[in-house]
């Protein structure tokens, strides 16, 4: 019997979706191992979060009331203590920016294995088999972990959110937080500039990625956007290079968009990009690589050179 501990994530007073996805992943594992599903929520209004986290399959909720927002030192201390106290075999957290800011430290402090960005999980006996991607999503791999405890971070949106009301016991966990060991302080948050165009409002997005190669070539995409009367957006490398402003970036750290049609031109479809556009009604991919991960979610695809296809497409509308 192996107990599972999932760690909820929240920001500025709201639980993040992945907290409820973690419950689904955790409940599936607990079912396989015959263990209990524990959930921990740390900092902020923990009692309100605990109420939301009380879903079907959850056996116990541990609240750690300390500070308001995420601080990795506090999380690292609280989680390592919780793992010991519960005797959890598997710790599941989010493969989010904050998850990656404390869970590797938890694994190191406990001297246990760490598997990140997992998209599938299974246990058989003492072995945990995790599915993860390599080479930018071109291949999938399975890795076995024979030891417990182990720390696992799961990719967002791979498991459904847990539904159904639960009847978990809610307990305050008195974590001993050593204030002298807190070496970082969060001073606030800042939203990245909005700007003139709101790509999340557009019906038709012509989105360009690193396949465009050079800044001068962006003119071609601008021409297409003009011909289609569409809005132009992009993947991250285009914004990183300073070719387009930050408000055009689609993705995890950019904007979430839901147009009627999203045309991904020279975009591979990395998970952080897909996070921002998978809700589009119709997805069209123009890419020379028929194995690019974008093809997994594209409704329509052209496996060809954008420098041949885009001029021909402009021609169709002029």
């Amino acid at each position: 019997m192996s107990d599972i501990l999932t760690i909820a994530e929240h920001r500025q007073g709201e639980l993040r979706d992945v907290s409820l996805e973690l419950l689904t992943a955790g409940a599936e594992l607990a079912e396989e191992t015959g263990g209990d599903l524990h959930v921990a929520v740390i900092s902020g209004d923990v009692d309100a979060y605990a109420e939301e986290l009380d879903r079907e399959g959850v056996d116990a909720i541990h609240t750690v009331a300390y500070g308001e927002e995420f601080n990795h030192d506090v999380y690292t201390q609280a989680v390592t203590q919780l793992v010991d106290s519960i005797g959890a075999s598997y710790v599941l957290g989010a493969n989010s920016v904050n998850g990656l800011d404390y869970l590797p430290a938890v694994a190191t402090r406990l001297d246990v294995p760490l598997v990140t960005d997992v998209v599938g999980l299974e246990t058989a006996g003492e072995t945990l088999t995790a599915t993860r991607e390599m080479y930018g999503g071109k291949v999938e791999t399975t890795v076995d972990v024979e030891e417990t405890p182990a720390v696992v971070t799961i990719r967002g949106a791979e498991w459904p959110v847990a539904e159904g009301e639960g009847s978990a016991a809610v307990e305050a966990f008195e974590a001993e937080i050593d204030e002298d060991a807190i070496g970082s302080s969060v001073n606030g948050f800042e939203e990245v500039a909005g700007g003139d165009v709101d790509i999340s409002e557009a019906d038709l997005l012509v989105s360009v990625g690193r396949g465009i190669d050079e800044e001068e070539n962006l003119e071609l995409i601008e021409e297409l956007a003009a011909a289609l009367d569409a809005t132009m957006s992009s993947s991250r490398p285009i914004v990183d290079a300073g070719w387009l402003p930050a408000n055009r970036q689609v993705g995890q750290s950019g904007k979430v968009v839901t147009p009627d049609v999203y045309i991904a031109i020279g975009i591979s479809g990395a998970v952080q990009h897909v996070a921002g556009m998978k809700g589009s009604d119709t997805i069209v991919a123009i890419n020379t690589d028929p194995n690019a991960p974008i093809m997994d979610i594209a409704d329509y695809a052209i496996h060809d050179d954008l420098f041949d296809v885009v001029p021909a497409l402009i021609e169709q509308f002029s």
Binding site: T108, V186, D240, S253, A292, I302, V309, E315
Partner: protein
């Protein structure tokens, strides 16, 4: 102030490839400097140019072939490089976070840098965890996914922006020494100049074995075992437009008109 930049040579895969057991057949692989590390090197070199940092040292876990990539970092301005390799590493299928940390930890202990700048993740195995795990192992502070770094001469605190999800940034002060994982876009990585490339040939590139570093062979065996590799099954039933560029563009134009998003 001394900065250590772990630099990884990553594997890139051709558009078409074949899988051979738990690896991609070598014919379809090339090597490149990890994208995120390029930004970390640039950040370190800029700090040096600003007079905040005195020395930039890189460390790479890799065989002799990686020296080409290491020279790229040296050509961009790093002062010297350490390369760690050993027969024991040749055997490892998947160098996991714990194994990388075991090696890097001993390098940090020998070099005693004030700042370690890693990339957020590597483009091939994308664990995204080495920086934070390393910080914990060596007992320093850290910050993950840094897209702005403010550091004054002689300061004992670094002010950083951490890039969260959804266009939000966290403003954080981190005590030094620290490990920061650097996000793309934090700066504009330079191209290596011809002069830089020439100078890089004369810079020190020190090869170390596990024994030199006092790292046990077992420590790099890792906790994870790679058991299978396959091409992911496509979940969507994608309609592929075939034909010449004119043909496919015509079909796409028709679709866009049908959907009512273009005339």
């Amino acid at each position: 102030m001394k900065v250590l930049v772990p630099v990884k040579e990553v594997v890139t895969v051709d558009d078409a490839f074949e899988i051979d057991g738990t690896a991609i057949d070598e014919r379809y692989l090339s090597a490149d400097l990890n994208e995120w590390d390029d930004y970390a090197i640039e950040e370190a070199v800029q700090l040096q140019e600003d007079g905040v940092v005195d020395e930039v040292v890189t460390v790479t876990i890799g065989d002799e072939d990686t020296e080409q990539t290491i020279r790229q970092a040296l050509a961009k301005g790093a002062d010297r490089a350490i390369r760690v390799w050993d027969d024991a590493l040749e055997e490892v299928d998947l160098l996991d976070v714990g194994a990388k940390v075991a090696i890097l930890e001993s390098v940090v202990e020998a070099e005693e840098p004030d700042l370690v700048l890693t990339g957020v993740q590597s483009g091939d195995d994308s664990f995204g965890a080495t920086g934070v795990a390393l910080a914990e192992a060596v007992g320093t502070q850290w910050a993950a996914v840094v897209n702005q770094l403010d550091l004054d001469n002689g300061a004992d605190v670094a002010s950083v922006h951490r890039e969260l999800e959804g266009g939000m940034e966290e403003l954080t002060d981190v005590d030094l020494p620290a490990v920061l994982s650097i996000q793309t876009g934090i700066n504009e990585p330079r191209y290596a100049s011809l002069r830089g490339i020439r100078m890089a040939q004369r810079k020190e590139l020190d090869h170390q074995t596990l024994a030199d570093l006092g790292v046990e062979t077992e420590a790099v065996a890792g906790d994870l075992e790679l058991t299978s590799m396959y091409e992911p099954e496509s979940e969507s039933d994608t309609t592929v437009f075939d034909g010449s560029a004119d043909d496919t563009a015509g079909q796409l134009a028709e679709l866009l008109r049908e959907k009512g998003v273009a005339q």
